[in-house]
Amino acid sequence: MRRPVIKVPVIKTPVMQMPLKYAPVKFAVTLVSVAAVLAAATSCSPTPEAAESKSLKIVYQKTDSFTALDAVMQDAKKEFEASNTGVTVDLQPIQANDDDYGTKLALAQRSGDTAPDVFYEDTFKVRSDVDAGYLLKLDGYLEKWDDWAAFSEAAKEAGRADDGGIYAVPLGTDTRAIWYNKTVLQKAGIQVPWQPKSWDEILTAARAMKAASPDVIPFNMYAGKGTGEGTVMQGFYELLYGTDSSLYDVDAKKWVVGSQGFTDSLTFLKTLYDEKLAVSPAEALDANVWKKVFGEWFPQGKLGATVEGSYTPSFWQKGGAYEWAGYEQDMGVAMFPTQKGQDPGGVSMSGGWTLAVGAKSRNPELAFSFLTTALNKKNALAYDINNSQIAVRTDVASEPEYLAANPFVKDVSDLVKVTHYRPATADYPRISTAVQVATESVITGKQSPEDAAAEYDATVRKLVGEDKVLEK
């Protein structure tokens, strides 16, 4: 017997038309979006002088855990609009992580119609963005700005490009250190304040913590592509710059390959991850692992120590993303040691962000004037305190309010003496990714430190060419 075929009403869409329309449209959208960017890329012709519009577009980053700059910008907007009648300040915060913020900013800068007048710019991108013609040279304006003298000499360098001109004004700087939970260390019988003198002392302490409380993560260091720039700034470079090697030879302007220090640094990471002294590789590759570090593991006493920035207290202080009243008592800070304790005994990395004026701005005078409002003493002080930045204005640095912002200001500021900066060349972002890939291969067990280092060398040679590498 044959079962009668029951007619089932299908969703009443004209089925044979839908697919034909749907798929090509979607495909087209993908193509269009890729190509739209290209269209923008090649059509950077300057827009003809439009009617003088007295409006300034300000672009900066704002995230759930980074609102300090937004607060400063809101204040500066009020201040500026009050003293400049007829001018509207159009604040356009971008909600994105550092990488995506950079991409969005670069895309906006390709056309005069979308380019911002004043924007938040990472120091290590200043040089390549000046090359790209995105930043306005500020020398002429700075001469007339009295406050410029208050900036520390080192900080002024952050905005200098290859032609010697200044293109950006720093908001603040930062350093990196070991942050540790005193309770976890004391449980393992380690005396606080703790200051390891070499890599071996870190491993010894971490093993002791593991033995004393098996479910804590003793000593975490970021690795892999997930944490992006965090992997290298708060992790690999503290290791590499503490060996006798480095990433880049500043004098020769060449990238270092084949160094023992590079392999040693990878080996150290391998030891941490293999002995389960750090998080599991799967957790390390999660781009959000840092949120757990600040939001859960440290406050709950599940993490012994990690390498993080001087801005760390900004997450825990009042109004921060992960308020934690006890951090001032529970946490300690130590300098990251050099490999075998060789001079200068410690190592740190510095970055920091700046404000810059867009080269395509239609009101450069006004834009610079807004920049000076956003960076005046009052606003700089508020920003440095709320975001736990190391002050770059000497008048802010000597303010009692700044020094008393949290118990760690002095410790992390002292690290400026041993700090290093990333090579701010246009090749840098790719090299950084190559380093991240090497760490990822090692902690996941895909490659031995030697093989990963060899692959890194090959990648660097391919990226920058034989004439820009140095065998060390």
């Binding site: 090509p24 193509l31 670069a106």
Partner: protein, 289 residues
Amino acid sequence: MRIRRFLRLLPVVPSVLLLLVFLMAPVAWSFYASFTDAALSGKAARDPQWVGADNYVRMFSDDSFPLAAWLTVVFVAASAVLGQNVLGLLIALLMTRSRRAVASWVGTAVVAAWVLPEIVAAFAAYAYFNRDGTLNQVLGAFGSAGPDWLYSFPLVAIVLANTWRGTAFSMLVYRAALADVPRDVTEAALMDGARGWQRLAFITLPLIRSSIATNLMLITLQTLAVFTLIWVMTAGGPANASTTLPVLAYQEAFKFGDIGYGTAVASVLILLGMVFGAVYVRLLREQKS
């Protein structure tokens, strides 16, 4: 006569113009940019230089490109051609024989995944395959600890997710096609003593061949372009274990700022889509003649 023909073509002119401006022009740009060193920052951003076929040469000496091309082929074959297509046909066939209520429930459940916006579907899939996600919680309830799917089996996870998301489309196409199969032919076969699978293989499938070809073409092109799902679930990782060509193109162009190389990868992707398209169109034409 000529004027009338021209007048008849007039209504399509706007759509042709729109296609030229919004589809062909970007493709042409992308193709052009792939021969330059266009970049997001640095000197090349201000003044991109013509570099000939350098980007394409680099592509084939770069380890990540062949891997991405291979992963793309596996992803398309496994999630579209096998997953969505076969599963869609199977569900459509079962629906013709099941009760009305069952069929409409199944239909709704399958279509639900397709109705979701891509980003929502991607988050749902992420929440499902995540280390502490639904799948591992269900496995945990039965006492077995699941692996970290997105880390240990990223390709499997995105293939399953894309199959889940796209099957509804094939199901709808085949539902319509099966409804058009004349009943007298199947009945005649039945009278001749053909079994179920024989009727399927020798009567039903040949009759819906053109729908199969159309469906395959569309889902292949769709799957080639899948980006959001993969980006949200694994971001192409760990290492490059789930970096398909669209993800690679995005990373090169927007993460590393190398628009020239990124568009070169995109151009290869377009060519790949055209090859697939041409093959299917040919299949369609052959059976018509």
